[in-house]
Symmetry: C3
Subunit: 133 residues, 3 copies
């Protein structure tokens, strides 16, 4: 089963917690056990799974990623000027998988699923693909 979600991002660097959206999708799909693939079809955004309790985790990660993959660099050639966003997207990855157990996402206590915008604001899409057991 495939469901596509639409998102709007509001800043250049913005991680949106989409755990609730993905959970709702699983619930509506009425799936008992399996795997869900959360897939980002964009090249300057990605998906990661990490802590969604303290928002300082996300802002610290964004800060350090910005230092490691700076927006401006004397050797960047890509005319669009968003090479840093591609670097970050490749680092976090274009998709993540989560186990579905007894109708719910089997996430760790502190884990959330994030859509990681690296070149917003933009309209974005996330594909949620469910593989039932």
């Amino acid at each position: 089963m495939l469901i596509s979600l639409e998102l709007s991002t509001n800043k250049q660097d913005e991680w949106q917690d989409i755990t609730g959206l993905v959970s709702d999708t699983i619930r509506k799909a009425d799936v008992e056990n399996g795997i869900v693939l959360v897939y980002c079809p964009h090249t300057t955004a990605g998906i990661t799974i990490n802590e969604n309790a303290d928002p300082d985790v996300v802002s610290d990660v964004q800060m350090r990623f910005h230092e490691v993959y700076p927006w401006e660099h004397p050797k960047y050639l890509h005319m669009e000027g968003n090479t840093a966003a591609h670097l970050k997207a490749i680092t976090v990855g274009s998709s993540q998988q989560v186990i579905i157990q007894n109708g719910a996402l089997l996430l760790g206590q502190w884990q959330g699923i994030f859509f990681c915008e690296f070149d917003g604001p933009r309209k974005r899409t996330v594909h949620v693909k469910i593989i039932e057991d």
Copy 2:
């Protein structure tokens, strides 16, 4: 099929080769062909697949990751003080997939599956989810 494994890590930065544990799980599950998802439900640890022949590969990777994502940083805000572990967990990823072929893991000659502890020592869990063909 879902099996959860329990691990204990002994150091802050410690990669444990869990290839044997995952292989045993596949064997006991008596699966012929499919895919296995090896999933880490923690936010300061992750899963990677890389060389398990020369231990200097792991120690070199840990050393350079520590330089790129340092433990101390004047701009980190996260009170728990383990932002570096979150950065490394996001970089390696929270899960990996391996193909199961003829009842065995289809790994490359030099590949092993590692549980990557970035904020130990701790008790940890790894979920092994099998999708049969």
Copy 3:
């Protein structure tokens, strides 16, 4: 279904766009819907999904990865001398997944699948594993 593709790389750092190869494999397999796992069984190469329109994106990413994970480092211990390639392989990941919808890869408009050689030139293999709905 499992198909293995053979590649030859020609340079130390070389990303090959294998989108067409993977697409052809899906078409020949005559699969309508599901997921494909594109898996690299090597430890100094990986798989990523990113822009395949402007080749400057790939060369910018290779350039910055080379700075972040340099080939030479006073603290590297691994005798083979290719720690940088292991670091990059771990960062991009050993596999990627793509959704198969109506017999085709559901990639974003600018997305392509790349085999990322980090220690070529070499003969390499890519496993394509299809999970049908």
